[in-house]
Amino acid sequence: MALEKDKNGENQVGRRAVLEKIASAVFASLVAPAVLSETAEAATEQEQPLPQLPELPPPQPNEDLLIRMMRDLQRALKKPMEQRRWVMVIDLRKCVGCNACTIACIAENKLPPSVVYRPVLQEEFGKYPNVSKRFLPRPCMHCDNPPCTPVCPVKATWKRPDGIVVIDYEACIGCRYCITACPYGARSFDFGDYYTEDTPEIAPIEKAPSFEYHEAWERKGHESPIGNARKCHFCLHRIERGLLPQCVTTCIGRATYFGDANDPESLVSELISKPNVMRLKEELGAEPKVYYLI
């Protein structure tokens, strides 16, 4: 399916060429459909016609959870936006702290050194010989009652009807009030730094466009997203093309799940109905939509 789409999209060679440089062959098959579709629209709340979604094999018992989640995703996309409720579930018992999600997110969104959407926190318990570690990936919580959006003086960040908290890069003035207001430290500021700064040449990969919010963002000069607050958006540009967020796809332990909590048949609905579920800093009342299984 992805290959067919590739052929259809040959008029957009520029983007594909860039992508070929930056993505490995394995990831390209997943990334390409997202990129080659219509990309001009900003992160608006207007309902857009459903794009052609990746074709999935028929359901089988014991199929890979990724396939099941993609099926959940496609079902959700067929509903109106306000009836979806995207949530993420992270199983802390399965997370091995490999940081694949952190890195995949950086690669997907071309994040500079000053920005991270999904770091993995480590905590060590006990004393030798009884020592253990716990790993806690921390994406944006996409709170139902987000503390970061009402503080924005210019309405540049808001919660969409499907619950995803987004930033309008073209409107953000870079005051960083939202960064101070997030109780999870989930927002970063793009300072305009590059990993390969102070080397003979800034690596082309760092200047390659990211496709956040369905637009091609090239980091150059003082242009957005440089000088903006940035944060995890649950890979909005991927999920609206029927693909799972990059951190979910790349999790080697299948410890991260994503889907529509309003759909009783979805995997995430099953998982968050269990008693071993918790959310970070529940006492603040922000109602985060990232659940942890402990």
């Binding site: 952190t102 050194p113 000053s114 920005v115 991270v116 770091p119 993995v120 926190l121 480590q122 905590e123 806690l136 921390r138 503390p147 009402p150 503080v151 924005c152 003086p153 210019v154 309405k155 540049a156 409107a171 953000c172 003035i173 870079g174 005051c175 960083r176 009030y177 960064i179 101070t180 207001a181 997030c182 109780p183 999870y184 430290g185 927002r187 970063s188 500021f189 793009d190 300072f191 305009g192 730094d193 003082h222 957005s224 440089i226 000088g227 903006n228 607050a229 970070l280 800093k281 603040l284």
Partner: protein
């Protein structure tokens, strides 16, 4: 005395000061150029301590402005005769420090060119949007009040070279200027504010709602401006009283609001305390009052006897306010630290015993509080009181920095600072040389503006014009 003040500008000593100022201004200008060229790259703040020196300096300056303004209300609202002489200089200081504050926070924005978005697409749930709108009201009011305080006719003398370019049309320039201002505020501003895109594209539809809004808004501006322009016919004294009276709640609102801007952030336990709006207001009065006292003691031309009396009075007032401020601080610190539990303990320990302990103990408590209190309460000499006040006013930056930075320098989630490593993901923050340079620029610019304004104030002979002067 006045002659002496002007004469001292021509001494070699004065040239030394001018030279120092020029050096400071040049070094600062390099920083500003770097700011425009490289954005935020040279700044040392990051994602955790995301507000640094700029924000600290901004609330310091805005505090000076609010404090100076509120003291001017003693003259223009409450009519306390003893302070009559400091009225215009208090307003001048308030205006210059307001400009300095806004300039500093402008440099802090990620997209400086988008600052006007706060007017075109405001979010009135945000304390920051309220701040900007209140500042705008305050700066308009302050300019009007200063204009009136110096009397319209005298200011017109300064502007005379402009119409003199075309002397035969001299009679026209005032009505034309008034009309231009009127048109701008009644037509351009409301239209642009209502619907920038439609107006700029000059495209219909102009809906009925839009016309209605436009009539309401332009009506508001026309009536407001007419009142302002007709003020010349009234007694300046009562006009100043009206403006000053409006200004006091405005100053309380915006500076209390600066405290609230931080205090409303529930994610930062150290800031999230209802004491801060009040603490900020007290701090404004202390620092603004101290700065004015120092100016009266050292710079402002007036008879020696009067200076003595005024500095003692102002000094006592500042000392009293400082003691009240310290009491609030004690309340805040002791309540949180008494049993050593709670989320704020970490931030407070950072202030008292962290790597920058000396900012609190030495700069704030010793140099900024104890020594000045001894100097002010123990002497009646204007120079000594002036020195004490100057120490309070300058060391107050320590209070501001110790508020902004420690509130951010504790991790939001335990271990977050070690989860992703990089220079922008650190909890320790020391302002970079570049940041100091930018601040030096703002300080040098303000000092320069202040001295230029002083020269102009001399021209207007404030002690003769006074607030009781008539139009």
């Amino acid at each position: 005395m006045k002659a002496k003040a002007i004469a001292c500008c021509e001494t070699p000593k004065m040239w030394l000061w001018v030279g120092l100022w020029a050096i400071a201004f040049s070094i600062g200008s390099i920083g500003v150029m770097q700011r425009f060229l490289f954005g935020h790259k040279l700044a040392a703040y990051g994602n955790y301590v995301t507000w640094g020196l700029y924000v600290g300096v901004y609330i310091y300056f805005i505090g000076l402005s609010a404090g100076a303004f509120m003291l001017s209300s003693l003259v223009y609202v409450f009519g306390i005769k003893k302070f009559e002489r400091i009225g215009p200089i208090a307003l001048t200081v308030a205006l210059i420090t307001l400009l300095a504050a806004l300039l500093t926070i402008w440099f802090d924005l990620g997209h400086m060119e988008r600052f006007y978005f706060v007017f075109t697409r405001p979010n009135f749930r945000s304390m920051m949007a309220w701040m900007v709108w209140l500042y705008t009201g305050y700066s308009l009011l302050l300019t009007s009040e200063l204009w009136l305080a110096l009397r319209v006719t005298e200011v017109a003398q300064v502007l005379r070279p402009v119409p003199m370019l075309l002397p035969q049309f001299q009679f026209l320039w005032r009505p034309v200027l008034a009309l231009a201002v009127l048109l701008f505020f009644s037509v351009v501003v409301p239209l642009v504010w209502m619907n920038r895109q439609t107006v700029l594209a000059l495209q219909p539809p102009f809906t009925i709602t839009m016309w209605r809004d436009w009539v309401i808004m332009s009506g508001f501006f026309v009536i407001g401006l007419s009142i302002f322009l007709s003020v010349r016919k009234l007694e300046i004294q009562s006009a100043l009283r009206v403006l000053g009276t409006l200004g006091v709640p405005l100053a309380i609102a915006f500076h209390g609001g600066v405290g609230a801007l931080f205090a409303t952030v529930a994610a930062r336990p150290y800031w999230h305390s209802p004491i801060y709006p009040i603490f900020f207001l007290t701090g404004a009065l202390v620092s603004g009052g101290a700065l004015l006292t120092a100016i009266v003691a050292f710079l402002y031309p007036m008879p020696e006897e009067e200076r003595n009396e005024l500095t003692v009075l102002m000094g006592r007032m500042v000392a009293g306010l400082l003691l009240f401020d310290l009491m609030l601080e004690w309340s805040e610190f002791s309540v949180h630290l008494w049993y050593g539990f709670g989320e704020t303990v970490e931030s407070l320990k950072l202030i008292l015993f962290g790597p920058f302990w000396w900012v609190f103990w030495i700069v704030h408590l010793l140099i900024g509080s104890l020594i000045p209190l001894v100097l002010i309460l123990g002497s009646r000499k204007p120079k000594v009181i002036g020195l004490g006040s100057l120490l309070i006013a300058t060391a107050f930056i320590a209070v501001r920095l110790n508020f902004v930075i420690p509130g951010l320098a504790t991790p939001q989630i335990k271990g977050l600072e070690e989860a992703f490593i990089g220079p922008r993901f650190r909890l320790d923050y020391v302002p970079s040389l570049h940041e100091w340079q930018v601040v030096l620029f703002v300080v040098a610019l303000s000092v320069g503006l202040f001295f230029v304004s002083c020269k102009m104030l001399h021209k207007f002979q404030p002690h003769q014009v006074g607030w009781r002067g008539t139009a």
